[in-house]
C-alpha cells in the first residue's frame, strides 16, 4: 500500500524538526541545473552538481553518519537564498556553513574564498597569499576543485593568473554562467 505524499512529507518534516538527522538534503532547481543541497545542525555542508544523488547520499552517510534523509524544510532557507542569487536579487549569502570535516589548510583557504566579493575574480596565487601560504597556489587549486559548497563558497571567482577560467568542478560552462550572472565577464 503506497504511502501518500502528504504522510511521507509529514514524516520527513517531523524527523528533521525532532533533530534526529545527521544530514538533511534536498534537490534545488536552478538556471544552471539541479543542485544537491545538504545541511547538518551546524549549517550548510554540501552543494553538489552530481546528478547521481544516491552517490552523494552514500558519501554523506559514510562521513557524517547514516541518518541521512531527504527533508525539504531544513533546506528552505538555502533554497530561497539561491533563488534570490540566480534572480540577481542577492549578492551575499547569509548562511552558516559546516566545514568541520575540512582539513585545517582547506578550511583557511575556504574562509578566505568566502571573502572574495560578488562580481570580482581573484587568482589561485592571490588566494594562496591571502591564506598565508604564498607558494601554495597549486594546493589552493586542489582545495577549489574539492570545494564542498560551490556557489556559496565562490570558487567560480578564482581564475588562472592569465585570466583564463582554468577549471570548475561543475564544468566550465557553469563557471562561465555564474561569472556572467555576476557581471564579472561579458
Amino acid at each position: 500500500m503506497k504511502v501518500s505524499l502528504e504522510l511521507d512529507n509529514r514524516f520527513r518534516d517531523t524527523a528533521a524538526a525532532a533533530g534526529l538527522l545527521d544530514v538533511a538534503y534536498d534537490v534545488v532547481d536552478t538556471p544552471i541545473g539541479k543542485l544537491f543541497v545538504a545541511t547538518t545542525e551546524r549549517g550548510l555542508c554540501r552543494i553538489s552538481y552530481d546528478p547521481d544523488s544516491e552517490r552523494v547520499v552514500e558519501n554523506l552517510a559514510r562521513t557524517r553518519g547514516t541518518r541521512v534523509l531527504r527533508a525539504p524544510r531544513p533546506i528552505d532557507d538555502v533554497r530561497r537564498q539561491l533563488d534570490e542569487y540566480f534572480d540577481q536579487r542577492r549578492q551575499e549569502f547569509e548562511l552558516n556553513v559546516d566545514l568541520q570535516l575540512a582539513a585545517e589548510f582547506s578550511r583557511r583557504v575556504l574562509q578566505e574564498l568566502a571573502r572574495v566579493p560578488y562580481g570580482e575574480v581573484t587568482t589561485y596565487g592571490e588566494l594562496a597569499r591571502r591564506s598565508e601560504r604564498p607558494r601554495a597556489a597549486r594546493a589552493v587549486g586542489t582545495v577549489m576543485n574539492r570545494n564542498p559548497i560551490p556557489i556559496v563558497l565562490p570558487c567560480h571567482r578564482v581564475v588562472g593568473s592569465t585570466g583564463s577560467l582554468t577549471g570548475y568542478g561543475g564544468g566550465l560552462e557553469r563557471k562561465e554562467a555564474l561569472l556572467k550572472l555576476e557581471g564579472a565577464i561579458l
Binding site: M1, L7, F11, T14, A15, A18, E54, A61, T66
Partner: protein, 157 residues
C-alpha cells in the same frame, strides 16, 4: 561482497520499506490510525538507527518495531476500528511480546523475528512472510525452527 552488510543511508532504508510497513499497519489498525503509527514506527527506527551494528535483516527489524507500535496504539486508544483481538498478556501480566523478545534474543534474526511476530504479536503467517520478504510457508518454518531451538536451550521437552 563485503563480509558485514553495511548500513544503508536512512533514506534508502526508509524508501525501501515505507510502503510495506504502511500496508501492514493499515491492515492492523485501519488507514487513519495507521498514519500516526507509521510516523511513530519510522521515528523509533530513526532513533535507534545509529546504534545498528550491521545492515542485515533491516526489514524484519522495522516490522518488529511496527508490530510493537501497533500494540501500543491499540493499548492507548482502543477503538472499534482496531481489531487486534485480545491483548496478548501472559499470566504475570508482563506482555507476552516483551518476554518473548528477551527469550528469543539468541536466535538467528529471521527466526527471532518470526517467533516474536507469531507468538508475541499474534500475527498470521501470511503477514509475517510479507514482513520478512518471504512467504507464509517460509515464515512458518522459521518460527517453528526458532521454537525448537528455544525449547532445546531452555531444556523444555
Amino acid at each position: 561482497m563485503e563480509a558485514v552488510a553495511t548500513i544503508p543511508p536512512f533514506e534508502s532504508f526508509y524508501t525501501e520499506h515505507r510502503d510495506a510497513v504502511f500496508g501492514f499497519l493499515a491492515r492492523r489498525l485501519g488507514r487513519t490510525a495507521a498514519e500516526d503509527a507509521f510516523q511513530e514506527t519510522f521515528l523509533r527506527a530513526l532513533r535507534a538507527y545509529d546504534r545498528l551494528e550491521h545492515g542485515r535483516y533491516l526489514r524484519a527489524w522495522v516490522f518488529t518495531i511496527a508490530a510493537r507500535v501497533a500494540i501500543d496504539v491499540h493499548r492507548t486508544q482502543p477503538s472499534d476500528k482496531v481489531s487486534l483481538g485480545p491483548e496478548p498478556v501472559s499470566e504475570d501480566a508482563q506482555p507476552a511480546y516483551l518476554e518473548l523478545e528477551h527469550l528469543a534474543e539468541q536466535l538467528p534474526p529471521t527466526e527471532r523475528a518470526a517467533v516474536v511476530l507469531r507468538y508475541g504479536y499474534d500475527l498470521p503467517y501470511a503477514e509475517i512472510g510479507a514482513a520478512l520478504g518471504s512467504s507464509a510457508d517460509a515464515a512458518r518454518q522459521a518460527a517453528s525452527s526458532g521454537i525448537r531451538r528455544l525449547r532445546g536451550k531452555e531444556g523444555i521437552a
